[in-house]
């Protein structure tokens, strides 16, 4: 869970950095997209690096989902449910201190997985092309984000990612033995997780919002 999750976080940071190129204009963005494909040539074939990244990421996603489902099942059994419920009382259903983020790890993760499928069909293969298909990276982006529902879908998904990372990033470092604070809120990794979650959510949402509201790039 921890290692596959952190590989994805590393990718998200690079991906977000790439997306922010949109603010340098369509040409810079298209050139960046082109560059990704020619990176390492002639040592690597065309799109060589891209495919290496894709394979590693797919491996990480599958491993993460497999581990999550295994853990989910095991923990459901371990919690000792009686007739669909653990405790019959209606009081304190949300525990003493649980965060919304920790509650939504499982279904939030499923939401993110569905979003990834939509996202690839939308901006990589362009099979879903609201506002018309396009050959350029910027064109796909621009045509999509002129539509409110696309903006809304990405916003919901990125907020889900933010929550997932808030708990996940902190949790991963504790799993790896790196928490030295008696209370979670005093932990360096809890603060780091909040920063990572906020930066990634805001960083990814900036270009789409700029396109929809301020007509970034015409």
């Amino acid at each position: 869970m921890a290692v596959s999750g952190l590989i994805m976080v590393g990718y998200l940071i690079l991906h977000m950095y790439g997306n922010l190129r949109a603010f340098s204009g369509p040409d810079a963005f298209n050139e960046y997209a082109h560059h990704l494909r020619t990176f390492g040539e002639p040592m690597l074939p065309h799109e060589g690096l891209l495919w290496i990244v894709r394979v590693v990421l797919l491996g990480a996603v599958l491993l993460h989902a497999y581990a999550a489902i295994t853990l989910w099942r095991r923990n459901k059994k371990a919690a000792g449910y009686v007739g669909g419920k653990r405790y019959q009382t209606k009081q304190n259903r949300t525990g003493i201190q649980r965060s919304y983020a920790s509650f939504t790890m499982r279904w939030g993760g499923v939401t993110i997985a569905l979003f990834i499928v939509f996202h690839i069909l939308n901006l990589t293969t362009n099979d879903i092309h609201p506002g018309g298909a396009s050959d350029t990276a910027y064109g796909k982006l621009h045509n999509s984000f002129e539509h409110f529902w696309v903006l809304l879908a990405y916003t919901v998904a990125l907020i889900a990612v933010g929550f997932h990372l808030w708990h996940g990033f902190w949790s991963a470092f504790t799993t790896l033995g790196q928490n030295y604070s008696a209370k979670r809120r005093d932990s360096f990794w809890n603060s780091a997780a909040i920063v990572v979650a906020v930066v990634i959510t805001a960083g990814f949402l900036a270009p789409p919002f700029a396109i929809y509201f301020f007509g970034l790039g015409g």
Binding site: A78, A79, T89, I96, R98, T174, G177, A182
Partner: protein, 248 residues
């Protein structure tokens, strides 16, 4: 004060069980929660009903026997054991729900009593040091840095009550296991068996059917002894180290 309690009644391990409502009158706010149950049991006995089975022993917060879930919280609204919880923590007229610990590894024996021997087997799998016994050695025979001694002592205060498991949404026994790993791992006497201990105890923990930790933190908030959450990171550190040395 007059209160209403809804208690989980279950005749035996095979019975399905259900919540049953009882009224208890003239409860003193100075009574402990267990004393309130004693009063209720006298009432039940007089009316010819089966008294409610609940575990307890020391009634002074050190044996760890008395755990029940009160209003959805392990050991109830205060950070203490059920025997040290007083009725003044509740309002007059309150409706109080009392249920047994819920965990696959803690099967219900009767009413509020669960079988926690899975914890004993985790301790047997490595929660000890192998040293000749005899008269107590001089306290300064083996020097221990003050910081380590303090942390080890904090971890050693675990009373094995199981509130951490009952509170954990994953039914994980990591806090209990980590308390012992931290306690013994910080002391010189614990070093020879440090790696085999963490492997053995974690294997037994998983084998008993406890869940996997996802670092939620309900355990430490419910723990009557305030075992801190970083003990779990310490366990993970020891475990990764032992695995890296091929000790599995």
């Amino acid at each position: 004060m007059n209160i209403t309690v809804r208690v989980w009644r279950q005749k035996n391990a095979d019975d399905k069980g259900r919540m049953v409502t009882y009224g208890v009158e003239n409860v003193s706010e100075h009574m402990s929660f267990l004393e309130m149950l004693d009063v209720l049991n006298e009432q039940l006995t007089l009316s010819g009903d089966d008294p409610i089975a609940f575990d307890h022993d020391c009634r002074e917060g050190i044996c760890g026997m008395c755990g029940v879930v009160i209003n959805g919280i392990a050991h109830g609204p205060e950070v203490t054991t059920t025997c040290q919880l007083h009725m003044r923590s509740f309002e007059d007229g309150a409706v109080i729900d009392v249920e047994p610990w819920r965990a696959g590894a803690f099967p219900v024996v009767k009413d509020l009593v669960v079988d926690r021997s899975s914890f004993d087997r985790i301790i047997q799998a490595g929660g000890y040091i192998s040293a000749p016994t005899g008269s107590a050695p001089d306290a300064h025979a083996v020097p221990v840095p003050k910081d380590d001694a303090d942390h080890a002592f904090d971890a050693a205060t675990c009373i094995g009550c199981g509130a951490c498991v009952a509170a954990c949404p994953n039914g994980s026994g990591m806090l209990f296991t980590a308390a012992k790993i931290t306690h013994l791992g910080l002391l010189p006497q614990g070093q020879p068996e440090r790696e085999s201990r963490v492997i053995g105890m974690v294997e037994q923990h998983d084998h008993e059917g406890f869940g996997g930790c996802t670092n939620i933190g309900e355990c430490t908030s419910a723990c009557p002894k305030g075992i801190p959450l970083d003990t779990i990171a310490q366990l993970n550190r020891d475990l990764l180290g032992a695995l890296a040395h091929g000790k599995a």
